[in-house]
C-alpha cells in the first residue's frame, strides 16, 4: 500500500510557532479582506461595463455618467441647491431618531413581555397583526395624522421596533436554566437573576435584532421620503432625479444610501466585536 509522503516537522517550524506573535496574523488577515473586497468591486465594475455596452436602453446609467453626476452633486449640490451632505444628514437624523426610540421601546417591552409572558399571550391578537403590516403601508396614516419630522420618525419606528421587540421577546425563554439556578442557589433574588444572568445572556440577541432593525429603518426612509414632502433626504434626492429621468444621478443617490448603510452596519459590528469577545463564534 503506497503511503502518502508526509513531511516531518522541522525545527524551524517549531521555533517559528513558539515565537509567532498573535497580532501579525490578525493584521495580515485584515489586509487580505480589504484586498479581496477591492477585487470584488473590480468584478462588479466589469459586469457593469459589460451590461452598459450591451444594453439598448438609452437611460441605462453608465459608469462614466454616474462618476460625473457624483462629482457634480458633491460639488454643486442638486438642482435645488441641497448638497449631498445635507441629504445624508437629514435622512440620518430621521433614522437615528426613529431607531433610537424603537430600540428603547423594543428592549423595554421585549424584556417586560419576555419575563411576564402572560402579558404577551393575552395581547397577541393585537400585537401580531400590527407586526405584519409593512411600514410602507403606514405611510398614508403618517401623512394624514402627522407633520414633518414626526412623519418620518414614525415610519422608521414601525420598521425598527418589531425586529428588536421579537428578538428580545424570544431570547428570554432561551436563557439557560442552569445559569439562572447558579445565581438562585447562592441566594440571588429575581432582580439579581435579571441583572446578572438574563440581560447579559440576551444582549447578543438584542444587538442582532438591532442590526436587522437598522437595516429595515433604512429601507423605510427611502420610501417614506419619496412620499414625505420635505425637499431634503436621500429618498427625495433619488425621486427628484428619477422624475427628470437622470438615471446617473439616481444611482448616485442609491450609492449614497448604500454607503451610509454600510457605515452603520460596520459601527454595530464593531460594537458587537468589542462587547462579545467571549463568544467563540464569528460574527458576519
Amino acid at each position: 500500500m503506497a503511503k502518502a509522503e508526509i513531511a516531518p516537522v522541522e525545527a524551524s517550524q517549531i521555533s517559528e510557532l513558539k515565537n509567532r506573535i498573535g497580532k501579525s496574523s490578525r493584521v495580515s488577515r485584515r489586509l487580505k479582506i480589504y484586498v479581496y473586497n477591492m477585487i470584488t468591486v473590480g468584478i462588479f465594475l466589469m459586469a457593469w461595463a459589460i451590461i452598459q455596452n450591451t444594453t439598448t436602453s438609452s437611460y441605462f446609467p453608465t459608469i462614466g455618467g454616474v462618476g460625473k453626476a457624483a462629482v457634480e452633486l458633491a460639488t454643486k449640490g442638486d438642482i435645488q441647491g441641497f448638497s449631498l451632505i445635507q441629504h445624508a444628514w437629514a435622512s440620518s437624523l430621521r433614522v437615528l431618531s426613529g431607531f433610537g426610540l424603537a430600540l428603547v421601546m423594543g428592549v423595554t417591552l421585549g424584556l417586560l413581555m419576555g419575563l411576564y409572558p402572560s402579558i404577551y399571550e393575552n395581547s397577541k391578537v393585537i400585537i401580531e397583526p400590527i407586526r405584519f403590516i409593512p411600514p410602507i403601508a403606514w405611510i398614508p396614516m403618517a401623512m394624514v395624522l402627522l407633520r414633518g419630522f414626526t412623519r418620518y420618525v414614525f415610519i422608521i419606528w414601525v420598521g425598527a421596533f418589531f425586529p428588536i421587540f421579537i428578538s428580545v421577546l424570544t431570547s428570554i425563554p432561551r436563557v439557560e436554566t442552569i445559569l439562572k439556578d447558579s445565581v438562585k442557589v447562592y441566594g440571588g433574588s429575581r432582580w439579581d437573576i435579571l441583572k446578572k444572568i438574563v440581560i447579559p445572556s440576551v444582549t447578543p440577541e438584542i444587538l442582532a435584532g438591532a442590526r436587522i432593525g437598522l437595516g429595515d429603518s433604512w429601507m423605510c426612509i427611502v420610501a417614506a421620503e419619496m412620499i414625505g414632502g420635505e425637499p431634503v433626504g436621500v429618498g427625495r434626492l433619488i425621486l427628484k432625479y428619477a422624475d427628470l429621468l437622470n438615471m446617473n444621478a439616481v444611482v448616485v443617490g442609491m450609492i449614497l444610501v448604500g454607503v451610509i448603510g454600510l457605515a452603520c452596519n460596520e459601527v454595530v459590528l464593531q460594537i458587537e466585536r468589542r462587547l462579545f469577545r467571549w463568544r467563540s463564534q464569528i460574527t458576519l
Binding site: 442552569i178 439556578d181 447558579s182 442557589v185 433574588s189 439579581d192 446578572k196 447579559p200 462579545f276 467571549w278
Partner: protein, 255 residues
C-alpha cells in the same frame, strides 16, 4: 454512626406530574461529613439535589437545615452543577466572584478569597480567560472554586465529573478530597459511579431507580486518600455492586 444533632434532615417524597420520582426518602446529614448519594441514572438524584439546595419545593415533606426549612436566600449553600455552569460572558475570576457579589461581599476581602480559591483549585494564571478558552475540566474547577469561595453551611456536588474523561476525573476526585480536607465543609456528593463514591465518602446512601427508595446506608471507615486496589476497598465496592444488581433497571444503571 456519626453522633450529634444532624445538620440536615431530609424527609421527602416528590413527583413530576405523572412520574413519581422520589418515593419517601428519609435520611440525615451530619456536620462536616462527606456523604455520597449513589444511584443509577434517572433515579432522581438531581431532583434530590435540587430539593436539598432549596431550588425545588418538595411535594410532600421537607428538607431542614439547622432545624429550618432550607432556603437559599437565608442559608449559605454552594452547588456544583452537573452541566457547565460557567457564565460565558464572564472571565474565570468574575465567574467565581458572582457568588460573592450575591452574598454582598466585595472589595479587597473578596479579591483575596477569589485569589485564594483559584490557587487551591489550580487555576492560578487563568483569571482573565473566558470559559470558551478553557477545557471542560477547568470549567468544572471554576464551578468548584465558586462553590468554595463562600463560607457555606452545605456544599452539594451533582455528578460534577460525569462529563470528564477518566484521567481528569481521577485527578478531580483527589482534588475535591484535598480541598474538603483543607476547608472543612458538609458535603453531599451525588454520583452513579460506585468506585467514585467509595473513594470519596465517609458515608454512602444507595438509591434504587425511580421511584427512588433508599436501599442501604453504608459507612466507609477506611483512611483517606484511599487505595482503590486495597482488598477492603474492593470488598465494599463488590458488596455495593451486589446490592444494586437487585434493583438494576432499564434506564442507565450503575457503572
Amino acid at each position: 454512626m456519626p453522633v450529634g444533632k444532624p445538620k440536615i434532615e431530609v424527609d421527602v417524597a416528590h413527583r413530576y406530574d405523572s412520574l413519581m420520582v422520589l418515593d419517601h426518602i428519609r435520611f440525615d446529614v451530619y456536620e462536616n461529613e462527606f456523604l455520597c448519594l449513589l444511584g443509577p441514572s434517572g433515579c432522581g438524584k438531581t431532583t434530590m439535589a435540587n430539593l436539598i439546595a432549596g431550588l425545588l419545593k418538595p411535594r410532600a415533606g421537607s428538607v431542614k437545615l439547622d432545624g429550618e426549612p432550607v432556603n437559599p436566600q437565608k442559608h449559605n449553600i454552594s452547588y456544583v452543577f452537573q452541566a457547565r455552569s460557567c457564565l460565558p460572558w464572564r472571565t474565570v475570576k468574575d465567574n467565581v466572584k458572582i457568588a460573592l457579589e450575591i452574598k454582598g461581599i466585595s472589595g479587597p476581602v473578596a479579591e483575596e478569597k477569589i485569589a485564594n480559591v483559584l490557587q487551591i483549585v489550580g487555576l492560578k494564571g487563568f483569571e482573565n480567560y473566558f470559559p470558551n478558552q478553557i477545557s471542560g475540566g477547568m470549567k468544572q474547577r471554576v464551578a468548584i472554586a465558586r462553590a468554595f469561595c463562600v463560607e457555606s453551611d452545605l456544599l452539594i456536588l451533582d455528578e460534577p465529573f460525569g462529563s470528564l474523561d477518566a484521567q481528569t476525573r481521577y485527578v478531580m476526585q483527589t482534588e475535591v478530597l484535598r480541598i474538603c480536607e483543607k476547608m472543612k465543609r458538609t458535603v453531599i456528593f451525588i454520583t452513579n459511579n460506585i468506585e467514585e463514591s467509595v473513594f470519596l465518602a465517609d458515608r454512602l446512601i444507595v438509591f434504587s431507580s425511580a421511584p427512588a427508595k433508599i436501599i442501604k446506608e453504608i459507612e466507609v471507615k477506611l483512611p483517606k486518600p484511599r487505595n482503590v486496589t486495597h482488598p477492603e476497598f474492593l470488598s465494599i465496592r463488590t458488596s455495593i455492586s451486589k446490592l444494586t444488581d437487585i434493583s438494576q433497571d432499564v434506564a442507565g444503571g450503575y457503572r
